[in-house]
Symmetry: C2
Subunit: 141 residues, 2 copies
């Protein structure tokens, strides 16, 4: 009935996992609320870049740069997830070109001109072996 | 070069999408910070339930019940995402049994006894056709 403990990824593995994906979820403050949104992103050196239109994501991070970001993959037997906490910064015009040198393809053609950089302050990667349904544990009193 | 606008899911479609998945990401406050964590969940009537051990998720939502939750699916041609904003509540002992009547299987066998309920206050579902790489738009000055 016991599962192996999650295996912790080291920092290089986390970056490798981040580089091998392009779709994640950004959690951000919007005034007093927490919000979450799917984004596509790319790794640029030791930062993440994404594009966004004017909207709540941009407003939220300009008001409060504290963000969290997550990517994952899973199948029936295992799951893996990398979680980043960090600070987001709208790139000024003279840095926005950085988004042209990374594989950051807009998934929806709606001209997203603002480029945001996330600089990680904490990063956690974990790989799990998943409990099979037939070993399902139902807590009982 | 234009893509179709996202198609908005109505509330029933959002619930159907939520019921057909079991893995999502919870964004929550932890004091002044925003955090994100993958969770597995189940729909119980018009709420979401998940189990959690003692830890930052539980501490965070007890301190501040404002949460956001996201699920998605995507392939090369399309993506879909449902985002829930709501309030989280640790179920008292006499309600925790609700988690036994829903398909909430613990993915990792580590006895997570606390049951948390998320009551949505806002729900948004969107389906997108994705821009193909060969129509990639590179903003230029």
């Amino acid at each position: 009935m016991t599962a192996d403990a999650p295996r912790i990824m080291d920092e290089d593995e986390c970056w490798e996992f981040l580089r091998s994906h392009e779709f994640g979820r950004l959690a951000f403050h919007l005034a007093d609320e927490v919000h979450i949104a799917p984004i596509n992103y790319a790794v640029d050196h030791r930062t993440l870049l994404f594009r966004t239109a004017e909207g709540s994501k941009l407003l939220g991070i300009v008001m409060n740069p504290d963000v969290a970001f997550e990517i994952d993959e899973y199948d029936d037997a295992k799951a893996a997830s990398v979680i980043v906490r960090g600070t987001a910064r709208l790139l000024p015009e003279d840095e926005a070109h950085r988004s042209e040198n990374v594989p950051l393809r807009p998934w929806v053609a709606d001209f997203k001109y603002n480029v945001v950089e996330i600089t990680p302050t904490e990063m956690t990667g974990r790989r799990f072996d998943l409990t099979k349904p037939w070993t399902r544990i139902t807590p009982r009193d």
